[in-house]
Amino acid sequence: MTYNCSNILMSIAKSSSHKEGVKDINSEVQGLDWYNERSSNKLSYEVCRVSESYISLRIKALDKIEIPGMCSYSNYKDLIFSVVRHYCEVWNKEVDGKNVCALHGDLSLVGNILFVDLNSPVFIDWEHFDKNAAPIGFDALNCILELLYYEDLNDINLLHSNLRHVSQMMSFLDSKKCLDKVFYNSPLLSMTDFMRKNSHLWGSQIDKFPVLKFSKDQAMNIDNYLNKISSLVEGEKC
């Protein structure tokens, strides 16, 4: 990270001279291009490729606001909605009957999303980017569901309140045609199943993802509860 003499962050630089690292940064550059084409919030950057085995990427820092450091679902509900809306704005342009769409791969409020203001999130850290890799809705669900991991899952009232919000977010995604039907019935298990089957997309970093740390029972309980709520919502609609 580069700061100016007044201690203000000017840019974030990443570089690598290892095969894997160069590949990741190249993916990040592709991801940034893809994102900039679709998003109203742009990220400006410079790439330096002096040889095939070295790359450096310098991303200009944004005037961002600090978001609360306590990463838990209940603290972030407003931010989550803001992220889901932005996700739809960006990914919606992808929807044209394709089975798979672009993958960010690590869309997370814990470090990979900046906020210019509370309604303007910017997605950063595109190193797992793949243009055609995941069912639509995957990244948004990852961002939403991983926050549940940081909550006390034994606090049933809290969990249910959060899951009601998850359900609302899923309905919103669906209304914007940004939720693949594969996620309708068992979002968490479908997500984790997808990740395990496509672990090459994350390489050695696959183990770091919070959604993969839920036990099978926890994941089933979450999915079952989400199903129950969504059927209630459907019933209410009828």
Partner: protein, 340 residues
Amino acid sequence: MNNLKKKLAGLYPTKDHAGIYKSGREGYWSNLSKKENKEFLAVISSQGARQAVQAVIPKYEDMIFSEKREAVLELLDHSTPGVCIDYGCMWGVLSIGMAKRGHQVVSVDQTYFSLNFLKSRIEEEDLENIHLVQDDIKLTNFNNIADYSLVNGVLEWVPVTQEVDVNKYYQKGGDVDSYITPPRKMQLDFLKNVRDGLKEKGKLVLSIENRNFYQYYMGRKDPHENLLFTTFLPRAISNIISRIFHKKEYRSHIYSFRGMKKLVKEAGFSEIEVFMAFPDYHFPEIILPYSKAGLNLYDKYPNKNRITKKQKISYYIEYFLTKYLRIKALSPAIMIVAKK
């Protein structure tokens, strides 16, 4: 490239079958004994560098291959390729790093084993821009050829002219050399020689431990002499301790931030930028300017080697000293970028 090759051929008329330029000045400095090095090289020829390291010296795998070791190179601008001299290149992690960044690299070391290992790595990485030179780094005669010079973990060893097998050197006794020139004078002369090797506005990158690293005051041993308190005590007293316990002179002088900057300045460098590296300069997690602004940026950082309770407590002390008391002089390591 041809120009550089011509210059090297002029300086070193002899080149051996492995393509290593030879000065006729040989020496030995290695973390391995000569016997271990022979065994290691035999395995390299049959299995390749990476596998050989994993099989024979696994504890050095990160030291040789970790990308983190190249972090110091990011203090330079790599947009224009230049010539770089890596003084005391050892296993060549920084030479490889600079070569991958597109520069022509002259890797100088007195230890033939190390150069041979680097040769295998160059072949495996398919690099054509590294030139190996076996020479005493104090006696090289490069003149205005380099845009960059690397002195990484080398300066402290310059005053030790005997052969060094690090593990033996740590022990009591060992070879006793009769030295005439004081360590600082040797280090200064070496840095002057490094300066001569640089073109105008060429840059020096230097990394070294901080003499006043807080852990030395807490009972961590001198990393070069394996003795308590010798890093920060007055040199004369350190010398007495070394003579009593190791029967040899205390030579591997390291410096405080101020002392290091002064030495580099005395060697004729200008525009000296000083950085502090955490948790060390080998595998830096954070590199910050040695200034108040730099201190403001200090924050928690991961370290996979922070395992024992003692190491964790030690880290909390560092955090307290740096974050809250805002003391920068006790940071672990010094990095310097300076211009000719």
